[in-house]
């Protein structure tokens, strides 16, 4: 078994915390945006689509810098959050969660959008003729049918959040015990002589978490899909 130092443990625990929060909090938005992109026609749809996908294409350091400008304590949004609710994001783990959420959002939306596009709108029509309003149709027909896609999207986003480095280090820096996530810790250990051992241990843990997440997502998706296929 691998023995970890407290600093290494902190990095692993922080990464898990950041990724779980990033995934859970962005999930409702992800479902909403995916639904809007899949089912609605409106002016500016391509703009929204572009915005959602921007973090996938931009250099992560650019995304991190934009976050710093917007959500830093002197930035327009960051300043407002600090004043009204006392929420500070820059150089805190919450900021790491925001960066991870933004960076993993495109992957999440893509997976969920594909699932929504695979739902036959005719089933939603039927639910309407049976008396269900649009909201009920979504809750009782669409949502259960896209559950495998939501699970897949969430786990993909979680895995991406676990690995997020560039935007995180730009936005919240690399403070041990505060904002030093798994990738940041690996980077730090590689910067100092004799840090290779610690880096290698964390690399193994990163690989293990990623593998477990992927296998779990495959398995959960298959179970749900089987139940939905209705045989």
């Amino acid at each position: 078994m691998i023995e970890l130092t407290p600093q290494e443990w902190q990095a692993v625990a922080l990464s898990l915390k950041v990724s779980v929060w990033a995934t859970l909090l962005s999930l409702p938005f992800g479902v909403f945006v995916a639904f809007v992109l899949a089912r609605c026609e409106f002016w500016g749809k391509q703009v929204l689509n572009g915005l959602v996908h921007l973090p996938l294409i931009l250099p992560p350091v650019v995304t991190g810098y934009i976050l710093l400008l917007g959500f830093g304590r002197r930035g327009p949004i960051g300043g407002f959050l600090d004043e009204c609710c006392g929420i500070i994001l820059a150089f805190r783990w919450t900021g790491a969660a925001l960066a991870a959420a933004i960076m993993s959002f495109p992957l999440m939306v893509r997976a969920i959008r594909l699932a929504i596009e695979a739902v036959d709108p005719k089933l939603e029509q039927v639910a309407g003729t049976l008396g269900a309003s649009r909201l009920w149709v979504f809750a009782t027909v669409t949502l259960p049918l896209i559950l495998p896609g939501i699970v897949a999207g969430a786990i993909l986003a979680f895995a991406k959040a676990m690995g997020e480095f560039g935007a995180t280090i730009t936005f919240v820096s690399n403070i041990t015990g505060q904002t030093q996530t798994l990738p940041s810790a690996i980077y730090s250990f590689l910067q100092v002589p004799g840090g290779e051992g610690a880096a290698l241990r964390l690399v193994l843990i990163a690989v293990a978490i990623a593998m477990i997440a992927l296998i779990a997502s495959e398995w959960i998706s298959r179970v749900i899909a089987k139940r939905i296929a209705g045989t």
């Binding site: 089933l123 039927v126 309407g128 008396g131 269900a132 049918l145």
Partner: protein
């Protein structure tokens, strides 16, 4: 109950402009595919919002474009059975059946057990839709629509996706539905045999317009409807009661036309059914035929003679106050001197009197 539909809608290369009324029983919207039938019932269901029109069900507006009023589908209380059953794959048959109940505001006592019995689906309740045959799926879909307590039931070619055997499996359930429940049905079809068996009113839709409408039996024995219904398919639809089954395999039917002998029908004595007498299966004679194999000879009076293009003449006959239609050639019509008011004998082979299937 009454449904009144008047609507106009422009599609990209198609104009829909229909107006008709429907009342109790099954009203069939009959026409070729692409004639606009499905668009009409989609408008009634609220799945299509027509440019102009007014739809009134039981005195309440479902839509009225003049007032800018339009009810969304879930507020209309109209059941819809689609050609593809569209069962929810993530729910069991029981959950599918109960789906509409969550939302039904009306409290008619259409009971679950009654509907399940009516459609014969009790063995399926705990199964998943994916494990059902096409006919079973369609019966569940009908049950699901019924249990939402609709004021009107729409059916869009509910049998078209099924093979002949499955069709004959479902048709009796549709007849029971028509006879046992008070729910009026708007039934879209391009299959004359289904329509002849089920409908009480016929609305013929042709390239976006209603070309004829009226009671089914009148339309089926009206020579003027032949162009729309097809020469092969036209002919009287007669209500009959099975009076007896004979040892030689024949069944005796009591009908408004008089007694008809038909090849044995597998139904119990006293049961009511419809039979079709295709116009092309009716022979005419001026004198009572002797030494002839056909068992049904009816005294009739010519009420209308209509010659169309081609070699055919359609002759409408009055028999005991009911109508029969015969299709003969120009030459025969000329030889017999068929004119309105002429008394004739209509000759029908027993095997030609068929139950629509």
């Amino acid at each position: 109950m009454s449904l009144s539909v008047a609507l106009r809608h422009s599609f990209r290369n198609f104009e829909l402009d229909v107006e008709f009324q429907a009342s109790q029983g099954i009203t069939a919207l009959f026409g070729r595919s692409g004639s606009g039938k499905t668009s009409v019932i989609n408008a009634v269901a609220g799945l299509l919002r027509p440019d102009h029109g007014r739809i009134i069900l039981e005195g309440h507006d479902l839509m009225d474009s003049a007032k800018g009023m339009w009810l969304p589908p879930h507020k209309r209380g109209i059941g819809y059975v689609f050609q593809d059953s569209r069962l929810f794959p993530h729910l069991s048959v029981r959950q599918n059946l109960l789906y509409g109940r969550w939302f039904a505001r009306r409290t008619d006592n259409i009971r679950f057990d009654h509907v399940v019995d009516l459609l014969g689906i009790s063995p399926l309740l705990d199964r998943r839709p994916g494990a059902l045959s096409g006919g079973e799926k369609q019966r569940v879909a009908i049950g699901r629509a019924l249990l939402a307590r609709p004021r009107l039931l729409l059916m869009d070619e509910p049998l078209a996706a099924l093979d002949a055997q499955r069709k004959s499996e479902i048709l009796p359930y549709l007849e029971r539905l028509r006879d046992d429940t008070q729910i009026p049905i708007l039934y879209v079809s391009h299959a004359m045999s289904e329509v002849a068996r089920l409908a009480s009113t016929l609305v013929i839709v042709q390239s976006g317009k209603v070309s004829r409408a009226g009671p089914l039996s009148d339309q089926m024995s009206d020579p003027a409807a032949a162009a729309m219904l097809g020469l092969q398919d036209i002919g009287a639809v007669v209500k009959a009661r099975i009076a007896s089954h004979e040892a030689d395999g024949l069944s005796r039917l009591d009908t408004p036309l008089g007694v008809l002998w038909v090849a044995g029908i597998p139904a119990s004595i006293g049961s009511m059914l419809r039979v079709r007498v295709h116009a092309q299966d009716v022979m005419l004679s001026l004198s009572p035929p002797k030494d002839i194999s056909a068992l049904n000879v009816l005294r009739a009076t010519v009420t209308q003679v209509m010659s169309g293009q081609g070699p055919d003449v359609l002759v409408q006959l009055g028999v005991e106050g009911d109508r029969l239609l015969a299709r003969v050639t120009h030459r025969s019509a000329a030889n017999l001197g068929l004119v309105k008011g002429l008394p004739v004998y209509a000759i029908i082979k027993s095997v030609a009197v068929v139950r629509p299937s």
